[in-house]
């Protein structure tokens, strides 16, 4: 295993994990940014861009509203890019096929992210008790330190999710590629289309927009017409 690549991936995972909730929320954590960034740093930018484009829409409709925790697509994007880049170096399969394979394997493991995220938030609740104690002992500065301590919890949760995605992927991906190699290569161009199609369906299913069907149908027909004129 390439430990430098793993270290870089872990750094991107922490950056994205923090950006997701705890710090900034500039949306570096979105797959369309996180995966290409990982790919770029690992020297396989195209694989990252492909993974980001395939994954972006799938869980975009799951909003981080109130106490709801959406599936951790950031760590899935980062972890799957790492898996695909390593797989590409080892097997020589086409990038598109490996991007699809690593996502199919990595996405179910990514569900663990919700568990770790919940755990981080539960641990953060303990900081509140310590904050009360700090106020009782007249240490207002301590409150600010305790608040920043929460960043460690979120960073640890990101790394834990990444570890599950990468470990699970490293066990399952070689087997998957070995048995499905031929069909994977043939099906790759279709899988490349299938992911965004399901993503669009998923987004549309959650949208309540006046005249939505009319707008969608109209722009689809006009779009096809414009593409036909090219």
């Amino acid at each position: 295993m390439d430990f430098t690549a793993l270290g870089i991936t872990a750094l991107v995972a922490v950056l994205c994990g923090l950006d997701r909730t705890a710090a900034g929320q500039f949306m570096i954590c979105r797959p369309i940014v996180a995966a290409p960034l990982t790919g770029l740093l690992l020297g396989e930018a195209t694989i990252g861009l492909q993974i980001g484009a395939m994954l972006e829409l799938l869980w975009l409709g799951r909003l981080p509203v109130g106490a709801a925790i959406p599936p951790d697509d950031s760590q899935v994007a980062v972890g799957c890019t790492f898996l695909a880049v390593m797989g590409h170096a080892q097997t020589g399969l086409p990038p598109q096929a490996l991007a699809a394979a690593s996502l199919l394997i990595g996405m179910p493991f990514g569900k663990a992210g919700q568990l770790f995220d919940r755990l981080a938030r539960l641990l953060n609740a303990r900081l509140l008790n310590r904050a009360e104690l700090a106020l009782d002992s007249s240490q207002p500065k301590q409150l600010e330190k305790l608040h920043l301590y929460g960043l460690w919890h979120f960073a640890a949760a990101s790394l834990a999710t990444l570890a599950v995605v990468i470990c699970g992927g490293m066990v399952c991906l070689p087997l998957f590629c070995k048995y499905m190699e031929t069909s994977l290569v043939s099906a790759a161009p279709w899988l490349w289309l299938l992911f965004p199609l399901v993503g669009i369906g998923s987004l549309l299913s959650g949208l309540k927009v006046p005249r939505g069907a009319f707008l969608f149908g109209g722009s689809f027909v006009i779009g096809l017409f414009v593409l036909a004129l090219r």
């Binding site: 710090a23 500039f26 979105r30 940014v33 195209t46 981080p64 106490a67 938030r121 929460g150 369906g201």
Partner: protein
């Protein structure tokens, strides 16, 4: 005692870490204290500072991008209370009245509208391998993000309780609806692009791309019936792989 610009800048920069200790009990309460910290230390000392912190160590949850609006208004109210001006309600009452509408408007506008519109626009570029995809996503999303954070603090601190009418003037709920309509249009166009690519894969005429629209509509109906996207993608991918395995 008016806050200097340097203190307001520190409050603004700290607002980016509002959710660092997000938890299920009081959600962003410690984050609020962290953001208010530089201003409070300017206003208060010793026991009064402790009392101010204790006053704000309570449930607080709003949209992180609109939080600066609440923070700015809270700072103004703290300032007015010091000057002996009675706004007719407590800061606690004002905060609890403002956080929920800000959260609802922010969720609908940023998470439900700006983010998907920026994402679909970026995907239209990234799908053809363009690096402008991720770049345009970051720019399109973060322009309104940063603008609202900055304006929220300036207007919130400048206006105090009058910030409520400012929030109404922003018409965020209406903008969310317009953006969602644009999103549906972009999704329709993106589906057409995917349909055209599928027709190219098949080496068939573009007319075959017409199937993409109904396929997406059928998928959206299925997904509305509690089928998760993950399950659907795995099932459809396995079907596709089995087809190629058998042929």
């Amino acid at each position: 005692m008016k806050l200097p610009r340097s203190v307001l800048l520190r409050v603004l920069s700290r607002s980016f870490l509002l959710q660092a200790s997000w938890n299920y009990e009081q959600m962003q309460s410690l984050g609020l204290i962290y953001a208010l910290g530089p201003a409070f230390r300017y206003y208060y000392r010793d026991a009064v500072l402790l009392a101010a912190y204790r006053r704000h160590l309570e449930y607080f949850n709003t949209h992180p991008y609109l939080a600066t609006t609440v923070i700015g208004a809270v700072l103004k109210l703290e300032e007015q209370t010091q000057q002996g001006i009675d706004p007719g309600f407590t800061i606690k009452e004002f905060k609890s009245a403002l956080v929920a509408p800000c959260a609802a408007m922010g969720d609908a506008f940023f998470w439900g509208a700006v983010r998907p519109v920026a994402a679909v626009f970026a995907l239209l570029l990234a799908f053809h391998g363009s690096w402008w995809g991720p770049v345009s996503f970051l720019v399109l999303f973060n322009l309104p993000h940063i603008w609202f954070r900055l304006q929220g603090l300036i207007k919130g601190y400048g206006g105090g309780v009058r910030v409520v009418s400012l929030l109404q003037r922003w018409h965020l709920s209406d903008w969310a609806i317009y953006l969602k309509q644009s999103l549906v249009v972009l999704l329709g166009f993106f589906t057409a692009v995917l349909g055209a690519t599928a027709a190219e894969n098949l080496d068939a005429g573009l007319a075959w791309g017409c199937f993409a629209g109904p396929v997406v509509m059928a998928l959206s109906v299925l997904l509305r019936r509690k089928v998760t996207p993950l399950l659907m993608i795995i099932l459809l991918s396995l079907l596709l792989l089995s087809w190629y395995q058998l042929h």
